[in-house]
Amino acid sequence: MADEKMLTGCSAAAQALKLAEVEVICSYPIRPYTAIMMELAKMVANGELDAEFVHGEGEHAQLSVVLGASACGARAVTGSAGVGVTYAFELYSPLAGGRYPVQMTIADRTLDPPGDFGSEHTDAMSVRDQGWIIGWASTPQEVFDNTLMGYRIGEDPRIMLPQMTCQDGYFISHIPDKVKVASLSQVKEFLPPYSAPHPISTTCPVSHGPQIRPDQGAPMDAQRAETFLELPGVIKEATKDFNRIFGRNYDPFLEKYRLEDAEIAFFIQGAHSNTCRMAVDALRKQGVKAGMSRLRWVRPWPTTEIAESLGHVKAIGTIETSTSYGGAMRGGNLIHELRASLYDLDERPLTTSFMAGLGGETVWLEDFEFMAKVLLQTVKDKRTSKYVYWIGFED
């Protein structure tokens, strides 16, 4: 049923959005995500996709437009990269708090300065506390799949939250790979039409986004947090359905690669996991029991799944690809939450972090070999000697 094509991550996202029959699209150019909007614009112009294509005057406007569209009951999509993601910042909390399940498709780009075009996760990672569902794909196929899964999870009546479906700029967004493009009937079986619970309408007028009182703020925050307690269950359900209908084999939260008997493990998200898998295989050939755990959704963070699947590993290193200047470990973000997830185990794995793939740099096989050496030394020493290693800048 599925049609296999060579597609870049951007094309894969556009194909999935077409099959999801998005009704309102709001664009504003910034590379590398722009190619998604270019493809969608072509589809609309050629009559392949019946959607309203709006040119925003900036990213803040883009998110405002999709908020309005979603409030009216339309399935809406927008997207951005790098500083575009941060320019839109004001809208992230209102979109999540107002419960508009729009999708923002991201192809990462470094933030300024210095206007580096390369991929880095810091742009979308900075939105992680705003109440969105956020996750990274590791192949164009997964971009396609996460786009559909994002809408299914976000539009679930129990959830109603916006989603950020991310892919690494260039590594995924601009390198073609084989993608099984699903049929419309498969997509329709998986993804029901979007139904807004209280759409703006002339026959039944409603107010969206009113001023609330300070004593209503705390219960509203608590109600939003409650949704995140329910979210993992809905992600599990949606992933199970997705695997059944599309013939895939996704774990809802973590890809576990050769982890069962692993002594050292890499903890990673996004594109560099492809090299990481090769590094694990190469290390295994040398007799090193290495494994990889790849994060599929950073929000909601899979605390329990991490504790359950990584507890037996002796040393874990995170590959950060995003910055948290001045944070607890003075490096990236993943290490903080990884450590927090493992803290309550009787016997905790030793952990450290590797700053790699920043500014769009490739994380090479040799870099993973270096990280493995550090992790093996950590196991030998039975202690973590450094919180963070800056790859390329270590002795």
Binding site: G98, S207, I212
Partner: protein
């Protein structure tokens, strides 16, 4: 894994404190009583009906539509639930019929001092 991991537990927001889904509410025909916004008022405008000429300048000037004309009694009426005490009406009134009086001078003054938000 020997020890039982902590749980996330449940969050119990009592019904009387829960906020409508996404704070979306039926559209008010006249005013939105679910979300009153007058509790940051320090002074309120008090009208002198002898000076008032019913010119409706206050009705036009108020950014929150808190002044309306009562047809039966032929006086201007003030809405205490949404007036934020900005005093634009006092400033704009051409006949000096409005004056700012501190909230604490009223028995029903906003209780911000007793219950600071």
């Amino acid at each position: 894994m020997s020890k039982k991991l902590p749980e996330f537990g449940k969050i119990n927001v009592p019904h009387d404190r829960s906020v409508p889904f996404g704070a979306i509410t039926p559209a008010p025909v006249h005013q939105q009583d679910l979300f009153k916004t007058s509790n940051w008022r320090i002074v309120r405008p008090v009208i002198d009906n002898d000076k008032c000429t019913r010119c409706l300048t206050c009705y036009i000037a108020c950014p929150d539509s808190c002044w309306s004309f009562n047809d039966e009694e032929e006086v201007m009426e003030w809405n205490a639930g949404f007036c934020k005490g900005c005093q634009i009406c006092i400033h704009e009134c051409p006949s000096d019929a409005l004056s700012a009086v501190p909230e604490l001078d009223f028995a029903d003054g906003v209780d911000r001092l007793e219950k600071p938000f």
